[in-house]
Symmetry: C2
Subunit: 548 residues, 2 copies
């Protein structure tokens, strides 16, 4: 029978090797590298916890300090490749193969290392997709995770940044893997049990908090008038007519502008209670004014946001919180909610091609997908109707008999015709295709495919791709909102006018919006300080966002 319990026997041998360095389950920070050398084996699949927000940074450094003669050729299976150490592991030969989802700040270096053959790439996933594979064919042998505190039984308190931890632990611990947590402190009783101790084998006392990036904080002072205009177009031209109440906002200034226009522009349009009431969303500081003005009923969050803890604790009617009073986030469930329970995803991208395919990848940067492709795709397994979803389905297919016609998820790309560094957002051919050629990838790293996108919003207007009846119409609809980019200049003027007459393209004036009204005075908060004020002093922004 023992032949069927080899993983368990292997796990027990590893625990035995590690336990010599531990007092009970507790290991000193200085012994972390020795612990990892004792329990990890070459070739192991290792999840080093980290996403776009929280990082198991101490364990990351400890793993990097390991002797490559003992620890090598690891297969890293993790949400984020974000810290320099995550890539240094590959430089040192400790890690060899990589399956991941997001690599924002390391996107240039990861591209260079992929080109140089220093990383053997499995695939770039969405978060939820990678989590799915944790239970099928990428189950970690070892999980290195991060928590706020632990008790001596190994019960963990993650605090507001619960994020990926329960999912990683579930996949690892229940498949006879090893779970090692770094914690900020050892306490007698954790404020709440985010992870039960019987799933945790070792606890490393880091003596300091894990690193968290305030990724979802956008300073209202940096929002441009063009972004305000696109936000007005989105609210009046999409949110209002579809009646979108359940949604996700991507990261970025365009959606921050929408959040800050709800209590002003949105209020004047009489939309309160009719749009934007239920969110799958991180605790964006920019949403504070809309919450305070009574717009928002409920928010479920992927992770937390630095500085928002006090505000969240005081607003449990809005957020999910635990018995300790602080946020309980959960990336897996919030991604599921974004996929199946939201009627709209709206976000920004770097490049959009003539078919509507979009990507944040360029030839020199592989940013990863994060959650966008999951939430920015039509959920074909969805079976419950809602008004926005049915209306979008009828837009796309006015012909089929209603009871057999599916609805459609609204997937909106919002941005300026010329984006960062004046690079055109619209291109004939995505850089992602060249990248796929050079790296011999089976798939170009497309963030959102054209057949899933329903609307594109720029300062030129809204292109409703649901109403396009052919690829040629779609192309002209996209060119029609691409402004003075090469793609826009090459439009067929007559075709574009025809699309406008049919309402496929909506210019600001078609919606009764005067671009001159797109003024910063419309923003409910014009600075971080304004947000603090709206929050009644409960929002405590990180110092880099303070100038007072």
């Amino acid at each position: 029978m023992a032949e069927w319990q080899q993983n368990r026997a292997r796990r027990d041998r590893r625990i035995e090797a590690g336990i010599k360095l531990a007092e009970g389950k507790i290991v000193a920070a200085g012994d972390a590298t020795r612990l990892l050398e004792a329990v990890i084996q070459p070739g192991d699949r290792v999840c080093l916890e980290g996403d776009n927000q929280k990082q198991a940074d101490l364990l990351s450094a400890a793993l990097l300090a390991a002797d490559p003669a003992r620890l090598n050729t690891l297969h890293m299976v993790q949400s984020g490749v974000v810290l320099p150490a995550h890539l240094d592991l590959f430089e040192r030969g400790i890690a060899k193969r990589l399956d991941y989802a997001y690599s924002g700040p390391q996107s240039a270096r990861i591209a260079a290392m992929l080109f140089g053959g220093k990383i053997e790439l499995g695939a770039v996933h969405t978060y939820l997709e990678l989590f799915a594979r944790y239970f099928i064919d990428l189950t970690p042998h070892v999980a290195l995770i991060a928590a706020v505190s632990a008790d001596r039984d190994g019960n963990l308190y993650t605090g507001p940044n619960t994020e990926d931890t329960p999912t990683v632990v579930e996949a690892t611990a229940f498949k006879d893997g090893i779970v090692i947590a770094q914690v900020g402190e050892i306490v007698d009783h954790v404020p709440r049990v985010d992870i039960p101790g019987d799933r945790v084998h070792f606890v490393v006392d880091a003596g300091r908090p894990f690193f968290v990036e305030p990724l979802f904080t956008r300073d209202p002072a940096l929002i441009t008038e063009t972004q305000i205009l696109t936000a007005m177009l989105a609210i009046k031209g999409i949110y209002a007519p579809y009646g979108v109440r359940r949604l996700n906002h991507g990261i970025g200034f365009s959606t921050a502008a929408i959040e800050l226009l709800l209590p002003t522009f949105g209020e004047r349009l009489g939309l309160k209670g009719k749009i934007a009431t239920h969110f799958a969303l991180n605790p964006h500081p920019a949403l504070i004014p809309a919450i305070e003005a009574g717009w928002v009923e409920q928010i479920h969050s992927f992770g937390s946001e630095v500085g928002m803890d006090g505000y969240i604790r005081a607003r449990p009617d809005i957020y999910f919180t635990g018995s300790d009073g602080s946020l309980r986030s959960n990336r897996a469930f919030s991604q599921v909610a974004g996929l199946y329970a939201c009627d709209m995803f709206i976000g920004s991208t770097l490049q959009i091609d003539l078919a509507g395919n979009s990507s944040t990848v360029t030839t020199s940067r592989v940013a990863g997908f994060g959650g966008a492709p999951n939430m920015g795709s039509d959920a074909r397994g969805r079976r419950h109707p809602s008004e926005p979803w049915l209306k979008a389905g009828a837009d796309a297919d006015p012909v089929s008999p209603a009871p057999l016609r599916r609805g459609r998820k609204l997937v909106v790309q919002i941005g300026e015709t010329f984006g960062e560094k004046n690079a055109p957002q619209f291109v004939e051919r995505l850089d992602a295709i060249e990248l796929a050629d050079r790296l011999k990838l089976d798939l170009a790293p497309v963030m959102i495919y054209g057949d899933d996108v329903t609307h594109i919003v720029t300062e030129e207007g809204i292109a409703n791709l649901l109403l396009c009846r052919s690829p040629a119409e779609r192309e002209q609809a996209i060119r029609g909102v691409a402004g003075y980019t090469d793609v826009g200049l090459a439009r067929d003027r007559k075709a574009v006018e025809g699309l406008r007459a049919r309402g496929v393209i909506c210019r600001p004036e078609d919606l009764g919006i005067d671009p001159l009204d797109a003024d910063r005075s419309l923003l409910a908060a014009r600075s971080i300080k304004d947000l603090v004020h709206w929050s009644g002093g409960l929002y405590d922004p990180p110092s880099r966002f303070r100038n007072w």
Copy 2:
């Protein structure tokens, strides 16, 4: 500030009302109804835990015994409507509105009650979709759940049937709802912590185990030779050429036949290790021979199966198990795995129309969707390639440039041309459409839409819908495997022969399969007793499946 903490204040008042009936958190079974009357309010959203397997049956009975003058117009938000009591709640007026996912044994009665207006239907969901809404707009105010045991702090041990519990509890407890668990016994220490006690407010000591249905047990003695033939076709005509290793099998005898043919027919084809190695699957007894023969590497399960506990405990290399040695199932994660990490879903249905739309709903039975639409749909948010997925994508679209061509999930419908009670599986029009008309539903309850189905397998052969280039071709491909049903008889013989010449339709002889070879001697186990033997006596089937 208190205006933002109304839910918490309401929860605390409810706990205060309930605590009078409790010793600590423990409430006697005889006080369960009084407890529910004390903590639930009219109009509440209530999740009464139950799916196609486990049931919080004591709490269900306790709720039914409540006084409708005190407890009424509840909005039930739950996976399964399975026990008679679940519907009696509506008869008595205790419940009014329903959002659910599955109602197998109650499908006739629920249909009658919907027609009679006794139930106000929200929507019929998939499991994962309903879970998603728990975090957005259907968050339960009260969750009534079931576990094996609890300690006095409320820590719960669910045993192998963890299933929906962690998801239901997460959505309820972290949104200031009330969690009440029925448990089989109170113990000093639970064998493992499936649910931490700080998420559980009351524990009702049922003094007996919760009810579990052995839904996934199929007696090999009942497998027909036609089912064996369709299983041979599927293995040789789909599993082998696509190289499907990661998959989910639906419930039913057709897929049980496949499981039992792997170590015989599959072995002779040299497919061991090349197909069917990683599953999102309940612990099907019919898979025991394949596991014992070394076919299977890993299985993650939605729930457990009655009688399989001893076998699972002895095979932790295959299953996910906890520190106590027994299965850890998790419906939410297994559904996510089925959606994003599996290359194939194969299952059966009741009716298929000419477009390939299928449904298990008839005009007199509303069975619910369960997990099929989630796993049996193309996962458009998927971004990692695999050979089966890329090949299916290329089948569907040989023209697009490879790096921009997406793969496709294989979604296979397998069944006999004439199904249960000799009813034809193929119909011109789904009964689901008439049902939608009669109930004024926005959507006909379609289980799997035609544009997601890739293959249909009957004893007449395989129709590969990926290769069809028009709706007309798709219709003839379907008619071509519909045999002597009216739909089959109305086929255009010439068109069907043309499709066969192109490989769109594959007859048994085209695959070198002689229907006369489809013999019960091919089954690795021909009875439940054989399965027990294969398991080395570890499988302990429920008595109703024993005839020795």
